[in-house]
Amino acid sequence: MTQSNKIVFNDVTLRDGMHAISHQYSVEQIAQLTKLIDDAGVDIIEATHGDGLGGSSIQYGFSKETEKDIITTAVKNAKNAKIGVLLVPGIGTIEHLNNAREWGASVVRVATHCTEADVSEQHIKAGIDLGMDTVGFLMMSHRTKPELLLEEAKKMESYGAGTIYVVDSAGALTMDDVRSRVSLFKENLHTKVGFHAHNNLSLGVANSIVAIEEGADRIDASLAGMGAGAGNASLEQLVAVMNKLDIPHAVDLYKVMDAAEYVMKPMMKRPVQIDRLSLTLGYTGVYSSFLLFAERAGKEYGVDPRDILTKVSEMGAVGGQEDWIIGVAQELAKEKINKS
């Protein structure tokens, strides 16, 4: 292992984890989790609605707490960690970002679908103008070839992003898929490179390690993997493996083990795990936050949620298109009636 620089941990328990709890963390829970994650030595804590700034909506589910309360609670309870926000252009706006900055957020990750980087120009520039650590976040990276993903990353680099992520939103990348993407980024970009995993194919930790082997500087993880689908790379599991491999970082293993076991897991509404549905997400390459929506629609219309996810995948749905799920469920229900 030639890795010598410390890996920067970006925790997503309070952002991607929002999906798994239908955006219902209370300020008390946000305060408690922030304190634990910060005390364990994590560098950046992302805290926003699962779909980022402005995500609170009928389409994605309303947050229990206001955007202001989520961000200021995280800021107040972190002694060392920087607080980050996610911004998906088309959902959140620069006005939302200005507010988040005012409330104390100092990292912004501007997220687009892997082929649509040019919608991020205004927002990346705004993050830089606000003096924020500004990151480009290429979602659903499995949906394009490594060479084309690099072209999109170069656009984000030209707008000024300091770090660019390969984001495996569907948990659909295998290890060589991660290797080819991260290594291309490292060879061709002058920015730092990050990787965001989902554990749908049980590769969350393995893929993160592969990314680090290829030179990734930042890695996303969450307590007990708390996140959409089968969750993200679990922080405590990843730290344990990194310790065994002598990969330098600043996180205390016992502290994150305890926080995951005694605080995070009891808060879960639905266990964040690999089951037939979350596995289907990774298998068919569907955006992980579709999980709960497909599960509900399946129940409501009496169809197999795996069929919904498979169909949505065939239609080429991208992140943010949760409204397609109901339509597909209705169609499948009609087909079922016609057949019987």
């Binding site: 389409q59 706006t93 120009e121 298109q321 109901i326 209705q330």
Partner: protein
Amino acid sequence: MATEKVKCAIIGSGNIGTDLMYKLLRSDKLEPTVMIGIDSNSKGLALAKEHGLVPIYTGIDGFAEQAHLADIVFEATSAKAHTYNAPILKRLGKKAIDLTPAAVGPFMVPSVSLDTHNIEELDNVNMVTCGGQATVPMVKAISDVVEVEYAEIVASISSKSAGPGTRQNIDEFTETTARALKEVGGAKEGKAIIVLNPAEPPILMRNTIYVKISEYSDEIHQNILQRLNDMLEVVQSYVKGYRFKADPVIKDNIVTVAVEVEGNGDFLPKYSGNLDIITSAAVKTAEVMTDSMVTKGVSQ
């Protein structure tokens, strides 16, 4: 009785401007006479010349020298350009139909606003956004029946139909559309989301409209469904490819309406329903303006 057609100019020789030209060439009330651009190599300007329009390559200044060529001017450029052009058009005494998000003039959604605005008194109207044209009528249909607490729309459009203007100013889309949901749709609060989808073959424009209503009864339910159907027909009168993607649903005081827009395929491909709906709405607006001009004897 043959009525003389009202002469129209188009500023902007890109996709929207060119599509507008084809729609105007078909109109029995309007005649496109000028296309104004700034790029002498523009394909749009070459097509305009081919169809007998006067091409102007020197922007608004070039048009000001030959302003007699048109009475109605469509702006199909950018918000920045229209902010500059609007006072010039006003000084020249032209009616401006603005397809940019500049919103110099009041919002115009033909199926809704033509009943409420005195169009003959307006010299500049703004066509909101494609998402606004596709969703505001449905919100208004519901707010005609019952108070609307909140309206939220999600517009999915194909990546291919989103030009650089939309991509570099995506906040303008969400903010302008949200404002129109309130100001024209009659909702107390509004929110708009846009998603670009790169699937091949390109997807048709699809809009999901969620409307939170203040009260519910069986009668309200029936009236909403009736009103939505009526409104669908009104919009279809000027955008043929506008239709429900699924039957409207009312559950827990939330009305969900999904509409799809297939383009007419004039210049832009059929999947570009999002561009088609705004050019169709602009032409419809101009035709109504023309009626008011004719009845007042402006053009005769």
